[in-house]
């Protein structure tokens, strides 16, 4: 089946950093020397080991290279088949798990510079998310302020699990910066491993870690709502990427039920959590975690209660669908249209600057 439209906006692509060597040109003299002298390398995140088939769809690995590390392959496999107008790049490299915050800041900056020079400069359809050293909120805000002038960067990228739930007030300067610059904040699947991947410790299997990511996303969403982040920052949009979304109805029901009982504990939450989520939170499409039948998917979307929540994504090179079957069954044509184009344009205002 050929893709139903042109002009789609892919909200989750993963260009891969080949290794620290690729970032050396983007480090200053001090850090470049440190990296070489100390042999600093190997920062591929444990949340996405590169050799696992699910993390690199067939054909996405250049000879001897990591999936997603080759621009030509990304153009052929991710952009061309979907007639993509814009693709947002979320670089998953381990800067956000480093304990030395100065190194984290230097690596984050280098990753963003690398993305700009070797991907955004070379492929006008690509846009970027700002990698920030979440370990130190002041340094993270510095990187946002530094990068915000380049309007090819359209959002701020955080891992879904780091030191504390993101609703906590210690993270608020980052949301203030995001709101100030009109940038959404993306919580992308992946952990910095400051905490075990489940609240009962460390599962044996990567399959479990992967499935558990939606539990981190649920906890984060609960935190953002409960702490009043959207009361404090009414202009903020949060994107949950690679989180799945079919868990959202039951999550909203439970959140509303609890809030009705506990309103007095969090009195700044002035309306039902489900309404707050519908207004402020968006979800990328892949992985869809689709139910086995289309009717159930349609019911789930109806229960989510808005057609504005979904953002098209391929999650290239992560392998969630075969060939070009990126669209799950059960989505109405109207929702597909909104998902492919309208919702991303509303969510990422900077994209509109490039429209004719």
């Amino acid at each position: 089946m050929s893709f139903p439209t042109t002009g789609a906006i892919d909200c989750d692509l993963h260009p891969a950093v080949p290794g620290m060597r690729a970032l050396l040109p983007y480090l200053d003299d001090h850090w470049r020397e440190q990296v070489v002298v100390r042999g600093i390398d190997g920062l591929d995140p444990s949340s996405f080991p590169v050799n696992i088939p699910a993390n690199g769809r067939p054909g996405s690995r250049p000879d001897g290279g990591k999936p997603g590390s080759d621009l030509a392959l990304l153009q052929q496999q991710a952009l061309a088949p979907f007639h993509t107008r814009f693709g947002i790049c979320n670089v998953l490299y381990g800067a956000q798990s480093v304990h030395n915050v100065d190194l984290a800041a230097a690596l984050s900056r280098a990753i963003n510079d690398w993305l700009a020079a070797e991907w955004l400069d070379r492929e006008p359809r690509l846009r970027g998310s700002i990698v920030v050293p979440i370990q130190d909120i002041d340094l993270a805000v510095d990187e946002i302020d530094r990068r915000a002038a380049d309007h090819r960067f359209v959002q701020i990228l955080l891992p879904a699990a780091s030191d504390a739930p993101y609703g906590k007030r210690r993270y608020w300067p980052l949301f203030a910066a995001a709101e100030r610059h009109g940038l959404p904040v993306c919580l992308h699947a992946g952990s910095t491993f400051r905490h075990a991947t489940t609240l009962n410790g460390w599962p044996s299997y990567y399959l479990e870690d992967t499935v558990a990511m939606s539990q981190a996303h649920q906890a984060q969403l609960l935190s953002l709502v409960s702490e009043g982040v959207f009361t404090k920052f009414p202009g903020l949009t949060v994107v949950l990427a690679e989180s799945g979304f079919t868990w959202l109805p039951q999550f909203m029901w439970r959140a509303v039920k609890t809030w009705r009982a506990m309103r007095a504990e969090i009195p700044w939450v002035d309306r039902a959590p489900s309404e707050i989520i519908r207004d402020h939170v968006r979800f990328t499409l892949q992985p869809t975690d689709a139910p086995p039948d289309a009717a159930m998917m349609a019911r789930t979307i109806e229960q989510i209660g808005t057609d504005r929540f979904l953002l098209f994504s391929t999650d290239y090179p992560h392998w969630h669908f075969d060939a070009q079957a990126a669209l799950p069954e059960g989505l109405s044509p109207a929702l597909v249209q909104r998902m492919l184009i309208d919702n991303p344009l509303e969510t990422y205002p900077r994209l509109r600057e490039s429209l004719p």
Binding site: I52, P53, A54, A160, A161, S162, A164, P165, G167, H195, A196, T198, L199, N200, G201, W202, P203, S204, Y205, L207, E208, T210, V211, A212, M213, S214, Q215, A216, A219, Q220, L222, S223, S226, E227, G244, T246, W247, P249, Q250, F251, W253, R254, V256, K257, T258, W259, A261, M262, E265, I266, P287, T288, D289, A290, P291, M296, R299, T300, Q303, W319
Partner: protein, 368 residues
């Protein structure tokens, strides 16, 4: 919603006898266990006491919404904490709602997650003795869970084998906040012992393991901690399935208690989709994860999920399987579900019988 919600609720049928799969009895004080503890452990209980990986000796750092986590109207007129007075429980719960069997879950004090493992084993034995003498033998409607120290498999197995065959005990219980994910092999012998003795495992959210209450770290509010029960059970179910506990022990039955159940279908969909791409990592799973869940797991209804459109709950229940669902009140807790009014979706007669009675009688072997 409006006050006509009560009219919308399914009218209770001519009084159907119910099985309540989550009733919380309680000690009046730790001294209630003294008759069942040796001198050494009586002294230890009074001095060193209960020690878990939590910062306070007397409370959780996530303070609950109400004292003793309980409805204000469940404090016994004769004194004591909610759930500690059998006569009041009989009047307020068992007799009032026509409950023919109630599954007891003790939350505090437990021996299940004590850091001193010998003390934990002694406490579990004492608690089980106390449950037998002062609850299940005093009101034959009440059935107990064999509480076992989950981190100490030999002691847990000894406790199971001590009580196996005693019809007052219908399941085995361990805390859900285990130190490792519960599907890990250190817990397998406990499951094997339970299954060998024909006992389901009843997993009521409880315990402390020192891990943050979410994979994203420590939340701030009871609002979050309360909701995290549903989230944490997703991880627990994943672990049991993915580690192969169900494929390894086909006779094992597991009941998830007090987590609600609307989260189960979407978890199943997610597990199945990702398993399909990662089957090579887990060759011991020969079938999609959801099949194990829908064959070997049961879920209590409380706290009843409340979709904006109440009829949406029917989709959830139906997808899970009408035979998987076990009604529970969670008496005397503050988020108690009233058997007459909590179920807002109308059920057929057969569904009602299954959910409110027959499924539980089957899972817990009440008719054997």
């Amino acid at each position: 919603m409006s006050q006509t919600l009560l009219e919308r609720a399914a009218a209770p049928a001519a009084r159907l006898m119910l099985v309540d799969c989550d009733v919380h009895h309680a000690l009046r004080s730790p001294a209630d266990l003294h008759p069942y503890l040796s001198q050494r452990w009586r002294e230890h209980l009074k001095t060193y006491g209960s020690r878990k990986p939590t910062p306070f000796t007397g409370a959780s750092p996530f303070f609950k919404s109400a004292p003793a986590l309980s409805r204000k109207d469940t404090w016994p007129p004769a004194g004591g904490t909610p759930g500690s007075d059998l006569a009041f429980m009989q009047e307020q719960l068992l007799d009032r709602y026509g409950i023919e069997a109630g599954m007891l879950h003790l939350l505090s004090i437990t021996g299940m997650d004590q850091r001193n493992q010998d003390f934990g084993a002694a406490l579990c034995r004492a608690i089980n003795e106390w449950q037998y003498a002062e609850w299940t033998q005093q009101d034959r409607r009440l059935k107990a869970a064999i509480v076992v120290p989950g981190e100490d498999a030999p002691a847990a197995i000894a406790e199971i084998e001590h009580w196996a065959g005693n019809r007052d005990f219908c399941q085995v219980s361990l805390v859900t906040h285990t130190i490792e994910p519960m599907g890990r092999r250190r817990y397998w012998p406990i499951f094997e012992a339970a299954a060998a003795n024909g006992l389901p495992i009843g997993l009521h959210s409880s315990g402390s393991n020192g891990h943050a209450i979410s994979p994203a770290g420590w939340s701030s509010f009871y609002t979050e901690e309360h909701h995290s029960i549903a989230i944490s059970q997703q991880g627990l179910v994943s672990s049991l399935v993915c580690e192969g506990v169900f494929s390894r022990i086909p006779a094992l039955k597991v009941v998830i208690v007090e987590a609600g159940l609307a989260w189960v279908p979407s978890l199943c969909w997610r597990l199945d989709r990702h398993w399909a791409r990662m089957r090579d990592e887990v060759p011991h799973l020969t079938r999609p994860p959801s099949e194990y869940i829908r064959e070997q797991m049961w879920f209590t209804t409380q706290p009843m999920d409340e979709p904006e459109n109440p009829d949406d709950l029917r989709d959830i229940l139906s997808w899970l399987g009408w035979d998987r669902i076990l009604f529970a009140t969670d008496y005397p807790h503050w988020d108690f579900d009233d058997p007459d009014t909590a179920m807002k979706v109308s059920l057929t007669e057969q569904q009602r019988r299954m959910v409110f009675r027959d499924n539980a009688r089957s899972v817990y072997g009440l008719d054997k």
